[in-house]
């Protein structure tokens, strides 16, 4: 097109637009906003229907089958760290990371003495897992059958949002696989191959870690969590993640 022709063209600048035209654009903007928003609000929905009347789901209302969970009998832990060793060996955990560890806290007791509390921690395989909600590429997901929070390393872009979103510091970035790594209740290394329990639970000499299917009313985890007069707690309940790792002092 020649410059002379261009000069003949009618100006399309906003100044020459009638207000009806502007209103039309505004309306269209609102429609586009609506379309975007309807998608965006999806991010506010929970990953799966899960409710939190109590820390332990009501009997018969376990979302998964088998509903794998772990009961930590905290006061029995002596910090021998055999669970950690077994986990490292079974799941090829590098020296700079951990899937499970034991935290300790010293507190004053009567007569001027002190006691040390040992608290084993691991991925809580939450029923409402914040890590799963935030992952942009579904590299981590909650298994529909077992309820275990799984990882597909090949999909992980390494944005580390799941690490930020986890209330339990249960995730770390594993350089070897270039992906975030976490406890999967030994699904890859043991359960999927027919084993019945996790490496840490098997290695524990003090019977601190009890692993099993909460949906099975005859399982030890079910019995421990449904014994009379038992105080059961979970870590950081205010985070609303609905953990499947329970703590008891029996």
């Amino acid at each position: 097109m020649r410059i002379d022709d261009l000069q003949q063209l009618k100006s399309e600048s906003p100044e020459t637009l009638p207000s009806a035209e502007r209103r039309k654009f505004l309306k269209m903007g609102l429609v586009v906003t609506g379309v975007y928003l309807s998608g965006t609000v999806l991010s506010l929905t929970s990953v799966r229907d899960a409710h939190a009347e109590d820390v332990v789901p009501e009997v018969g209302k376990y979302p998964y089958g088998p509903h794998y969970s772990m009961v930590i009998r905290e006061k029995l832990c002596i910090d021998c760290e055999r669970c950690k060793e077994a986990c490292v060996k079974t799941n090829s955990v590098p020296v700079y990371g951990f899937r499970t560890t034991i935290l300790e806290k010293r507190r004053a007791i009567a007569n001027g003495e002190h006691e040390t509390i040992f608290m084993p921690v691991l991925c809580n395989q939450c029923n409402r897992p914040p890590c799963v909600r935030v992952c942009p590429t579904t590299a981590t997901w909650k298994d529909k059958k077992t309820g275990i929070v799984m990882m597909n390393s090949a999909r992980c872009i390494g944005c580390k949002t799941c690490m930020t979103a986890c209330p339990y510091n249960a995730r770390y970035f594993k350089e070897e696989t270039r992906a975030v790594d976490k406890c999967d209740f030994c699904w890859e290394s043991r359960l999927s191959k027919g084993e019945k329990t996790t490496a840490c639970a098997e290695a524990c000499p003090a019977d601190v870690r009890v692993f099993g299917d909460l949906a099975d009313t005859k399982s030890r985890v079910f019995e421990l969590l449904h014994s009379p007069e038992t105080m059961i707690w979970v870590l950081r309940p205010e985070a609303g993640a609905l953990p499947n790792v329970y703590y008891v002092n029996v």
């Binding site: 261009l6 700079y96 590429t137 090949a154 510091n169 995730r171 970035f173 350089e175 950081r236």
Partner: protein
């Protein structure tokens, strides 16, 4: 003799080329430094190159990404509003705002692309395995969409097809707004970090977008005139004054938001109180009081009020201070949200986790700034007439 010849030529072309060439070379070196930092991090591992840890997975670079992305949103929104409503004072600056919005977003993409561990898994990953519950996914998709829309919009502005450009400007602004909101929600929806969690952050980010966008256009418009050694026209000056008013209003709103954020934190749980303490009189106090509050909000506000927006230099200085303050604001927000150990009280963990950005992280920041600087200079060189006030808007 030489002077006589040059005096007859348009002064812009003759005088500015060497200065722009030098500055462009500097900015290219900055970009190369950033890319070198990114490659270095990939080679030796992010865990060695960056100061982030398992306990503090996000650091300065996430803040810098948010910083550039928020500036981009502000510029895009101000441009769309001024284009759409026409006849307002900001309109003469709008074309430059569209361009700056594009390059700010590219700066953000450069930083995040070099920050994440496996950027090559991202393009296919987000397309083939999208997670619609992920704010990161929405943010990335919408910002990606926005940059595409704005590039087409800018092409249409260049080819003077303004009606279509206006439509794309609105679509781009909508995409940017929702991307910005999702960026806010990336932090605000994480219940595990009480200092981030809440509904305020997305709207706070939007206010910061208007503040940073206005500051960016004031500063870059001034710099473009300095580079071209060109007298500012009353129309441009008036546009800058309007952007100055936007800055004043936004500083006021952000100050109120900040005040209530802290009042709220001090009535919150232990972690909220400890986090607020980290900013008020803890390890982040200097970064918070001196850079985010004093340099970023109080001084520019005072400067603009004292000069009654009648001085270009004062407005430009205030804009620079705002942009420095916003940089620290993003840093403080990202770091403070993770600074209290999640198992505080166990293992004799420190009250606050330490985080000091590494040289590689600073290189990436320099790369991002270099890209934005290069984009600004390239725009001034390639499209000076599009940015000038002599054209229709």
């Amino acid at each position: 003799m030489k002077e006589n010849i040059t005096a007859t030529l348009p002064s812009r072309i003759v005088v500015t080329r060497p200065a722009i060439n030098i500055l462009m070379t500097v900015t290219i070196l900055c970009i190369l430094a950033g890319i070198a930092g990114g490659i270095y991090a990939q080679v030796i591992g992010h865990d060695h190159a960056f100061a982030n840890t398992r306990e503090m997975p996000w650091g300065m670079l996430i803040g810098v990404y948010a910083y550039f992305a928020i500036i981009s949103t502000g510029l895009c929104l101000l441009a769309a509003i001024s284009h759409l409503f026409g006849g307002n004072n900001l309109a003469p600056l709008a074309n430059r705002m569209v361009w700056l919005s594009i390059i700010s977003l590219l700066g953000a993409f450069l930083v995040i692309g070099l920050e994440i561990e496996n950027p090559w898994r991202m393009p296919l990953g987000v397309l083939l395995h999208p997670n619609l519950t992920s704010n990161i996914w929405w943010m990335g998709t919408l910002y990606g969409l926005a940059v595409g829309i704005m590039l087409i919009e800018f092409y249409l502005i260049l080819s003077r097809r303004f009606a279509l450009a206006l439509i794309l400007g609105v679509a781009g602004a909508v995409a940017e707004t929702l991307a910005n909101s999702n960026l806010g929600s990336v932090f605000a929806s994480i219940n595990a970090r009480p200092f981030w969690y809440g509904s305020q952050l997305p709207i706070f980010f939007l206010a910061c977008a208007f503040l940073s966008g206005a500051a960016a256009v004031v500063m870059f418009t001034h710099y473009s005139h300095v580079l071209a050694r060109k007298q500012m026209t009353p129309t441009v000056f008036s546009g800058m004054q309007t952007a100055g008013k936007v800055m004043i209003l936004m500083i006021f709103l952000i100050s109120i938001a900040n005040a209530w954020k802290f009042a709220n934190a001090y009535t919150g749980n232990e972690e909220m109180i400890l986090t607020a303490d980290a900013l008020v009189h803890g390890p982040l106090a200097t970064s918070f009081w001196v850079f985010e509050i004093a340099i970023g909000l109080v001084l520019p506000f005072a400067l603009m009020i004292a000069t009654r927006l009648n001085s270009v230099q004062a407005m430009s200085t205030a804009a620079l201070m705002v942009l420095v303050g916003q940089f620290f604001s993003r840093f403080n927000m990202v770091v403070s949200g993770q600074i209290v150990p999640q198992y505080y009280g166990y293992n004799e963990l420190p009250l606050y986790l330490s985080y000091l950005p590494t040289a590689a992280e600073f290189l990436l920041v320099i790369g991002g700034i270099g890209l934005v600087g290069f984009g600004f200079l390239a725009g001034e060189r390639l499209f000076p007439s599009v940015f000038s006030t002599d054209r229709d808007h």
